[in-house]
Structure formats: structure tokens, C-alpha cells
Symmetry: C2
Subunit: 271 residues, 2 copies
């Protein structure tokens, strides 16, 4: 099977990536300013937060995308889709971890990705309060603050107690469908796990700082950049669960170093 992304010339991918980095710069500027000068907070119907900064970032990125690529589509967390039939689709989570942003926990981030015919062409996760950015593009590798990263696989003799696993919160495993028992199984099997906001887990895994992430019950924009960043770093990405809730597609994924992904998936399949 041919990969549709091979239809895009490498020079075009590079140009798209450069522009995407400017979009991430614009997002960071808005977030940094909001942290300095303040922002308003509202509760969404599901009880989660949205701030004036989330909306400002998404609006700004949509304006820039419309200016550079008027025929591209946009799917974002806070606003309605644009050009839904276009082959190029930008996916935006303006602030992943708004709860953390509100409480000034520095683990939140902006997630931005471009898909071509449903395959990820490039991805960026930017963490303004960590001065940390992970970006990658099809055929061009993954970078941490501009430096190329490459995942080494786990040594074969690493015990489960030592594998550096990131889990999404147990609350994630319980939303939409209660799979909290899977969290418990994973936590017992991999006791050296951490629980971070999704986007920080994605960055740590794609840059090799953690071995594998198990991220349950997310939307398209939460996981928008995780696959391209992991695969371009030399890691594996597996969607382990996919279903619809009120018309929205919900995904669960395991990604990171190849053998760590395999170990986790084996455990999930046996459970």
C-alpha cells in the first residue's frame, strides 16, 4: 500500500513545517502574555475549563492558517471545523491541560498537527512554561528544541519495575467507558509510572525521556501530534481502542520505544 504522504514533495513538507513553527511561536506568545497579564476562566458543559487564552490561541492559529492556506481544513477543540472536506487538515488543541494552565502547573502545552488524507504529516507540541518544544514531520525526524532525537530501544533485560511508563490520569480511563481497572493493572505492573498531562507525556516519550505512554479516552486533537512525533523518532504507535460518543471519535493509544509498546500491549490484551 502506498503512503499518500509520499505525494507531497519533501521541500513542501519542509516549508509547511517552517510555517507551523511560526504558528507555535504565535501560540506561545499569547500564552506567555496571558500568564503575565491574566485571563478569564469559564466552565464547559462537561465541567472542564476553557479560558480566554485557549480561545485566543485557536482564533489566532485559524487566522494564520486561513491566510497562508485558505483551502486547508481546521479542526480545533474550541471552535467549529473549517473546510471539512479538504485533503489537508490542521488539528489544534490550543491548550492541552487547561486545568494545569489555570493553576499554573507548567505541564500544559499547545498541540498542533497537519494531516494529509488522514495521515499525520507534521506535529508540534509546545510547552511555553517549560521552554520546551517537540516537533517532527514525515521523513524529517523529530526534534527537541531544534535538536534531532532518536529513540534507542529498551535494553532487553530491563525489569517491569524499571520501565519508565507515563499513564494518563485514572479519570481519563474512567470517562466515556469505565476502564479504571486497566489503570490499576498498569499501575501494578509498572510501579515506576508517572501521571502527567497528556501533552507532556507525548513530549517525554517522543524525546526518549520516558519509555512508553498509555493514553486513554482522548479526542483527535489530544493525540494529534503523538503519532508523527513518536514514529519520526523511531518509536511505535498503536491505537488500542476507538469508539464514538455523541458523534465524537474517542481514541486510546500506546506509544513509545518498540519493545515497551509491545510489553504494555501484551499486558492490555491479557487483561
Amino acid at each position: 500500500m502506498t503512503d499518500a504522504r509520499r505525494d507531497i514533495a519533501p521541500a513542501e513538507i519542509q516549508a509547511l513545517q517552517q510555517r507551523a513553527m511560526e504558528l507555535a511561536d504565535a501560540a506561545r506568545e499569547i500564552v506567555d502574555q496571558a500568564l503575565r497579564t491574566g485571563f478569564s476562566i469559564q466552565y464547559k458543559p462537561d465541567g472542564s475549563y476553557v479560558t480566554s487564552a485557549d480561545v485566543a490561541v485557536e482564533s489566532r492559529l485559524r487566522a494564520l492558517i486561513a491566510q497562508h492556506w485558505p483551502d486547508h481544513g481546521v479542526i480545533g477543540e474550541e471552535l467549529a471545523p473549517a473546510n471539512p472536506e479538504a485533503p489537508f487538515q490542521w488539528v489544534i488543541d490550543p491548550i492541552d491541560g487547561t486545568e494545569d494552565f489555570v493553576h499554573r502547573v507548567p505541564t500544559f502545552g499547545c498541540i498542533l498537527a497537519l494531516y494529509y488524507r488522514k495521515l499525520p504529516l507534521l506535529g508540534i507540541i509546545d510547552h511555553p512554561s517549560l521552554d520546551l518544544r517537540c516537533d517532527g514531520a514525515f521523513g524529517r525526524g523529530t526534534r527537541r528544541n531544534g535538536e534531532r532525537v532518536r529513540l534507542a530501544d529498551l535494553p532487553a533485560d530491563v525489569t517491569s519495575e524499571r520501565v519508565r511508563v507515563v499513564l494518563s490520569a485514572r479519570a481519563n480511563f474512567m470517562r466515556y467507558r469505565d476502564e479504571g481497572a486497566r489503570f490499576d493493572t498498569l499501575a501494578r505492573a509498572f510501579p515506576n509510572h508517572r501521571v502527567y498531562r497528556s501533552c507532556l507525556g507525548h513530549t517525554l516519550v517522543a524525546t526518549g525521556a520516558a519509555d512508553v505512554m498509555v493514553d486513554y479516552h482522548d479526542t483527535l486533537w489530544d493525540l494529534a501530534a503523538a503519532r508523527i512525533l513518536t514514529e519520526e523518532a523511531g518509536g511505535h504507535y498503536r491505537t488500542v481502542r476507538e469508539f464514538d460518543v455523541n458523534g465524537a471519535r474517542i481514541y486510546s493509544a500506546v506509544f513509545g520505544k518498540a519493545s515497551a509498546v509491545e510489553r504494555v500491549c501484551r499486558l492490555l490484551e491479557s487483561g
Copy 2:
């Protein structure tokens, strides 16, 4: 019962705190430079890491302490105690979360505290890669990057699903004594929990960014600053477990917003 710390003049506490901030500056400088220019890594007998940066920070802080206060004692993670009978005792964890430091996960920190007759007089947790410092001193409050913080208690109607709990890793609950089942109980009761490196949890709780931390099976230096930082911010601190392992005292503590501490302790007592 009188608090021995009241014997120390407020001006003296202020002077000690100012000097302690200089110590934290010196630690940060060494860590930042190690991240830029590299460091060596060794494994300790228990399988944990120690780097040349851990040892360099502790050595430098000990030299500064000996210079400013030759009669003060020092207890640190990496080197032997000095002046163990002195009423003033500095407690140092040069890099809490060396595993994170080694992998460039930005959640590690330097923990520094001064005790007077076994009571905490001042504490600092400095996170070089987060540009974040929490410091506090007896009668002088707690600050986040120099700005005074004050913990508001939880609203009475907050459900357990919404309480922002930080747990130490399940691996912590299992070391020395296997209390992993307590981790599972907490994770189920408070599904919106996160698992961070101890020092980041302490900082988030003391600055109100999280509601409560449950930190199991730690040494004196791991928890050195947590109590003074939490109490001076207006929160509560409870030691819930204390025992000796090979001559070392192991502590477990629950600390944060008053009613959140009470809820967690009630759960632990019932389990």
C-alpha cells in the same frame, strides 16, 4: 508547649533565609551548567542514580554552610553528616529526582531546609528547569518566585473526583514495606490524581496549584522542606507513617489544604 523556633529573632530568621536563597542560587548554577556541558552518571547500591552534579551541588552547599555557619550541622543525601549534635541542622537533597534529571525531565529540584532543635525553620525547593522556586520561613510565609502565596481551603462541595491529588509513584509505596494497596485505594478514590517527582508535588501543593500530596516512604531529605512550606502557606502537614530501615528513618506524609488532608487521612485510616 512553647515552640523552640520562637527563640530565634525574626531578623535572624530573615538573614538566614537570605543566605539560604544564595545557596539555592549556587545550586541552580551548577545544575544549569551540568545540563549544558554534561555530567557523569553512576548507579548506587540500591539501583538509583547519582550524578556528578548531585555531588557537586551538595559539596558546594556544604562549603558555603561551613563558611557562613561553621557550628551548624549538615545532613545530605550524598555525603556523611557534619556536626550531628548542633541545634541548627541543614538538610540537603541536592537533586531530588536524579532519574528525571538524567533523562532531562524538568520536574527534578533541589531541596534545602534548616532545622532548629528538630523543627523546620526555613525551606527552599528550587526547580532550575522550570525557573520555579518555592521558599518559606517560620513566621514569614511561603513564596512562589518571590511572591507570597496563601492556600485557600477547598470549597466544601468539591467531589472526590475533582480534588487535585498528587501521589508519589506506586514504586515509593512499595519500597521498604509493600503498601502498594494504599496507592490503589487512593488512585480509585481520587481519579484526578497526578504522579510527579516528590519535590514538584511539594512545590505544587505549597503554592496551591494542587490540593494535597500523599508522599510515601521517604527519607528526611526528601521531605525536608515540605512541612515548613505547607504550614507557612496556611496548609496542614501530617506524618502518617514513620519507621526505621537499616538505621535510616523513613517517613510518609500527607500535606496540603486542610480539608483535603483530612479527607485523605480519613480514607487511609479506614483502609
